[in-house]
Symmetry: C2
Subunit: 292 residues, 2 copies
């Protein structure tokens, strides 16, 4: 398992770099609109180590390790965080009851992953979320997924996003796409609003089905698929003009994102309940939001 | 108990009216600054009935009753909601385990209260929260409190706010103020930020100590004390000039408010878990927020 942890963590850092490079490339492709005169954005990279954070761990869990927080505040990407982390420790007794295999490991766990949320300058370019992770307790599994949140859903974007993940899933198992799409629709739903968060995508967790190697290969494919399809979707709308009214709509819609992340998101809850780096976890919050 | 419910609910509507009147009065007292040319705000009042809401109850709890949502978007109060509600129903099985006396009532409950959150135009005027409520299961109790969130804490405001609630508490029991102030400090704390939400105030819950009449009298006093002291504090700073930098600081600080409300607030969780009126519950969200 130690070798597998190393391989997975190494992949997550590689994926982080590939995505950051691709997003920086998109920043250079803006040619019109109110933000075109700004300089193309670049990612800022901040490594962190839990033991050196000036932030007490009030979570009741014991946590060590760290990661790299990368954030870009650009002219296409208003705020995008792409975070890598590799942590280990002991869950609080209470939280351990909620995690598979944690009772049998006496709460000990290891986790590594990459997570990404992008909030865009243009209300015509969808926001997006992607996360892939490997977790080890007395069990081990992969989880993750990607989902798209357009402010104004566009049929062709929706079809292409779903199409790309269907192809990705089908390369590994014909049952994955219907199962993981459904899971995504159910998971990214705001019951108090009776609204889906966006147009969906795929979501999976506790994946330990075909052996570590095959499950890892699927998880890698999800990351690569995300990078390619999201860049295509951004590129299509990057130079469209937008109105102040569309921007207002975007700011309000972002409020739903905040509500979901703080009320329901597993990654946010996992991070905060284990005493993770708050700044990295809440990097997913939109730069500007309205609840008018 | 039926008579007591009526008396309490009537008081909560009276308190709502008194506060709305006092806040509309403050709107007329603005004479300088960037918002002085706007028209003084007035509250909009929207009665609602759970059974008539076009919003399915996905909470797993059964809920009936309703309330009055009043909101003002003014020139002093950027957004303030003062909500009254009186509801009854049956908690979901899961949620019933978390509420005193709900197991013995087979999940049946009644609740009424008034809750208020004010987000101000000026970063030099503190935001504030106040809530008082009566809840009945097989037990019955009062809860509530008030706490102040200045963007730039001011010693004299802090001293006056605490002084007013100390006097209020002392009129009922000399032990209340130290106990309820401590409870407030512990409750309005963001563990993931290691930050208090504001400068505190008082918080109490499950109050069933001196007989219903005395506990109700205390709860009434908390509401009246809040109205008077908060209006005094607003009045002191209403006409101070502020800078763009101070406004930015306010928008970021409001993010902490959102984090607390969605991650920790009992009222928000109670409302959403019982299938309350989402629009009324999330009226507490700030009109504009930044996570830069």
């Amino acid at each position: 398992m130690e070798e597998k942890k190393k391989i997975a963590a190494k992949w997550f850092t590689e994926l982080q770099s590939m995505i950051c490079d691709a997003f920086e490339e998109l920043e250079t492709e803006l040619s019109t609109g109110p933000k075109a005169d700004l300089t193309a954005g670049k990612f800022e990279k901040t490594p962190w180590d839990r033991d050196e954070l000036d932030q007490p761990n009030n979570s009741g869990s014991d946590l060590h390790g760290g990661g790299t927080m990368t954030v870009m505040r650009g002219r296409v990407f208003e705020k995008v965080g792409v975070n890598f982390s590799e942590v280990h420790g002991t869950f609080s007794e209470d939280f351990a009851t909620k995690i598979p295999g944690a009772k049998e490991s006496n709460g000990e766990f290891w986790a590594s992953g990459v997570s990404l949320v992008a909030h865009m300058q243009s209300p015509l370019v969808p926001a997006v979320h992607m996360n892939t992770r490997m977790i080890v307790t007395s069990k081990h599994w992969f989880g993750g997924g990607a989902d798209l949140t357009p402010m104004y859903p566009d049929e062709s974007d929706t079809a292409e996003f779903h199409g790309a993940f269907k192809e990705c899933c089908d390369r590994h198992d014909p049952n994955y796409y219907p199962e993981f799409k459904k899971w995504c629709d159910e998971y990214f739903f705001l019951p108090h609003r009776n609204e889906p968060r966006g147009i969906g995508g795929i979501f999976y967790d506790n994946l330990d089905r075909k052996g570590w190697g095959a499950d890892f290969a699927f998880t890698q494919d999800v990351g690569k698929t995300f990078k390619d399809i999201y860049c295509d979707i951004v590129r299509k709308s990057i130079n469209k003009e937008w109105t102040d009214e569309q921007r207002e709509h975007q700011l309000v819609k972002r409020g739903r994102y905040v509500e979901f992340n703080l009320l329901h998101d597993r990654g946010t809850v996992f991070g905060l309940r284990t005493g993770g780096n708050t700044e990295a976890i809440l990097m997913s919050m939109p730069p500007e939001v309205k609840w008018p």
